[in-house]
């Protein structure tokens, strides 16, 4: 049995279940408690769990993220909300040097079972400073894990896996997905946990592989529809879900099936998850490729405000379709 939930509700259910499961889980962040969360992900949880388990913080990301990391070393399991992942910029030292490296520098004596979560996306006309998409940035640091759910079921499953993981996990959500609905397994049927490191084939196909994560998966699925119905092209859509660990097997398998790849990535084109995936594919599936790997990324400029144009700066189904068609 499953129910239809929004992505937001699915996340909330995951958080709620983990709060219930483990008394050391504590939610923390700006406006997460009394205000119910800037994007209402944590709605009702302060009321239910109280001051100790759901904590409002001042606007001091370096301070409170660092506080969470310190507490995690002692065995507390903080789940920190960044109101926007964009605000990583003021907590970068803590997010990298402390969360990622303290285990290594201590020769394995410490570990940081912390989760940092929040939305990481463009597309809401909030300008360059508020539209960072740092999956690849953080995945590049060994010691960190990064995931980016695209559907309600994955959102719930991944947040629960993240909280149970004994390493720092950065969960990149998306404000434009919070309201999306989807089937989520019923808790009565058992714990719904989606392991980190497992991609999901969201649509099968034979002519071309669209590989994406986060909201780009939705665009890729939209493009696959159009490709099928209007152009008779059968596109497979692989949702990476987790960026680090990365399901390289699933990537190589889809390439072996279709021999043509378009990567869809909201990131700017210099770098991004897609540059890493392209590098891996060309190295490990060189002979499988019938054409160069193509990428649909954001147009290479800081995020533009204008609601009239921002959707064109980002990947969208039309841009994906055009890219596939241009592969010939």
């Amino acid at each position: 049995m499953s129910r239809t939930l929004t992505y937001r509700e699915a996340l909330r259910e995951g958080l709620d279940e983990e709060l219930a499961r483990d008394p050391n889980v504590v939610l923390m962040g700006e406006e997460v408690a009394q205000y119910n969360g800037a994007y209402k992900v944590t709605e009702g949880l302060w009321k239910k769990w109280g001051d100790k388990r759901v904590v409002d913080t001042p606007i001091s990301e370096a301070g409170f993220i660092g506080m969470g990391i310190g507490a995690s070393m002692l065995g507390v399991r903080p789940v920190m909300e960044l109101m926007f992942w964009s605000f990583h910029s003021v907590a970068f030292d803590q997010l990298v040097n402390n969360a990622a490296f303290v285990r290594y520098m201590s020769g394995g004596l410490c570990n940081c079972p912390i989760v940092v979560r929040g939305p990481a996306n463009g597309g809401t006309n909030v300008g360059a400073t508020h539209s960072h998409i740092p999956e690849a940035l953080f995945a590049s640091f060994p010691g960190l894990k990064v995931c980016a759910p695209a559907t309600p079921a994955d959102a719930k499953g991944l947040i629960k896996a993240a909280i149970r993981d004994n390493d720092p996990v950065y969960v990149m959500e998306n404000t434009l997905l919070y309201g999306n609905t989807g089937e989520v397994p019923d808790p009565a049927d058992g714990d719904h946990v989606v392991p980190l490191g497992l991609a999901d084939l969201k649509r099968g196909g034979s002519d071309v592989s669209l590989i994406a994560h986060g909201r780009s998966v939705i665009h890729a699925l939209g493009a696959a529809e159009i490709l099928q119905s209007e152009h008779g092209i059968s596109a497979e859509v692989l949702d990476l879900r987790s960026i680090r660990p990365l399901d390289v097997d699933a990537i190589l398998n889809t390439v072996a099936r279709t021999h043509r790849v378009v990567l869809v990535d909201e990131s700017k084109p210099f770098g991004g998850v897609s540059a890493m995936v392209a590098t891996i594919i060309q190295e490990h599936a060189f002979d499988e490729l019938d054409a160069p790997i193509r990428r649909v990324c954001s147009i290479d400029a800081p995020a533009m405000y204008s609601p009239h144009i921002e959707p064109e700066q980002l990947p969208n189904p039309r841009r994906i379709v055009e890219k596939v068609l241009a592969m010939g």
Binding site: E30, E31, Q34, Y35, N36, A38, D56, P58, I59, S60, A62, G63, S86, F87, S89, V90, T124, N125, V126, G127, T129, H130, K268, P269, F270, R294, R295, V296, C297, S298, I299, D300, A301, P302, M304, Y305, S306, P307, H308, I309, E310, E312, Q313, R319, I320, E322, K323, A326
Partner: protein, 365 residues
């Protein structure tokens, strides 16, 4: 708003040097500016709700005297920078409603060509360095503008505005220390409207007395100001600006004020974390426009007819701004990748060497 609570009843500031010399017309001009700001915000709200404006909308209604007070004292080498709640500052420095509205409508003729939006209005030609969205991120920039003034030998200061929630960001603290240590002509102005989003001042800051007192830890001068009294804002800000201009010493000012609306228009909670009485009390007794209007009427400077004319002018300018914004052209896809690099925008020889951009312009997508 402890800052205001601490402040003595605002008597006598009309007689302070910087206010005493104001002509009747100048006083009316100040009044008109506040009315203009409020009207702009009301119209913005309407069009935000109608879906014409994207992103966030942080209204300045209730705080008008704060921005105007300082900016009305600007000399030719005084500079200004603030956070995202910035429409008041933008209009006060002399930006037109049209360029601001067009920006918020995401149009090509907006002041930032539709690239910045409501949080990022700029007018360097008017010594106004924007609108910044990362809380307290503008404070080192303001410090740097002031450093630049001193470096370039200009007698001026930089006024750097921030919210009461911004004082707990590390960059601000670093800026305070640097400002005092290096004798930088900067005035930091905390616009204390009592809340950072849904968090009241006491839930975000530990302090004794008031936030501005933290300046003592940096051997810096500070003061508190009642932000509902334009005269007081001008009188006390003037002292700080002169200290900066003449002695290169920084000041931390804390201005007690209030916002009538939510944090942004997306904030539907704002009547939950604040009581209706609190909001009503401010509107009734501390509204900067009503307070100033009353004073000017008492002074015999303003009468109802003039006030009405001012209101109408503001309404007309706002209506015209909306028409301008509506009719303005939208940016094109080609506009996305301009204004990234000065060198490529100017087609310099440097811009011709190597790839500056990495999206694929030959193949669509």
């Amino acid at each position: 708003m402890p800052a205001r609570a601490k402040t003595k009843p605002a008597v006598g500031f009309a007689d302070s040097p910087v206010n005493q010399t104001l002509t009747a017309e100048q006083k009316i001009g100040l009044y008109a500016q506040m009315v203009r700001i409020r009207r702009f915000e009301q119209v913005s709200l309407k069009h935000y709700q109608a879906g014409k404006i994207g992103g966030f909308l942080h209204l300045y209604i209730g705080q008008e005297a704060v921005a105007l007070g300082g900016i009305s004292l600007a000399g030719p080498d005084d500079h200004f920078i603030t956070a995202y709640r910035q429409h008041g500052h933008s209009l006060a420095v002399g930006m037109t409603m049209a360029e601001c509205m067009a920006e918020m409508f995401g149009k090509r003729t907006g002041c930032s060509k539709g690239k910045g939006g409501s949080m990022h209005l700029f007018a360097p030609d008017k010594n106004f360095w924007g609108g910044h969205g990362i809380v307290a991120g503008q404070t080192p920039l303001g410090l740097g503008l002031a450093y630049g003034l001193k470096y370039l030998g200009r007698e001026g200061c930089c006024m750097c505005y921030l919210g009461d929630g911004a004082v707990n960001q590390g960059a601000f603290h670093e800026s305070l220390n640097l400002a005092s240590l290096f004798d930088i002509p900067v005035v930091f102005v905390i616009e204390n409207n009592g809340y950072s989003m849904g968090t009241s001042q006491v839930r975000s800051s530990a302090y004794t007395g008031c936030l501005a007192k933290r300046a003592e830890g940096y051997a810096m001068e500070w003061d508190t100001i009642d932000g509902s009294d334009l005269y007081e804002v001008r009188a006390k800000t003037h002292v700080a600006m002169e200290r900066a201009r003449k002695e290169h010493r920084p000041t931390l000012l804390e201005v007690g004020t209030y916002r009538y609306y939510g944090h942004s228009i997306a904030d539907a909670n704002h009547k939950k974390y604040r009581t209706p009485e609190e909001i009503e009390n401010y509107k009734q007794h501390h509204d900067p426009i009503s307070v100033f209007r009353r004073k000017l009427m008492e002074e015999g400077v303003l009468d109802d007819a003039r006030a009405e004319a001012i209101a109408k002018e503001a309404a007309d300018e706002a209506a015209a701004a909306v028409r301008f914004a509506e009719e303005a052209p939208v940016p094109t896809v080609d506009d996305i990748a301009t204004d990234v690099y000065w060198e490529t925008d100017h087609g310099t020889s440097a811009s011709k060497i190597g790839w500056h951009f990495f999206h694929d312009r030959s193949v669509p997508g």
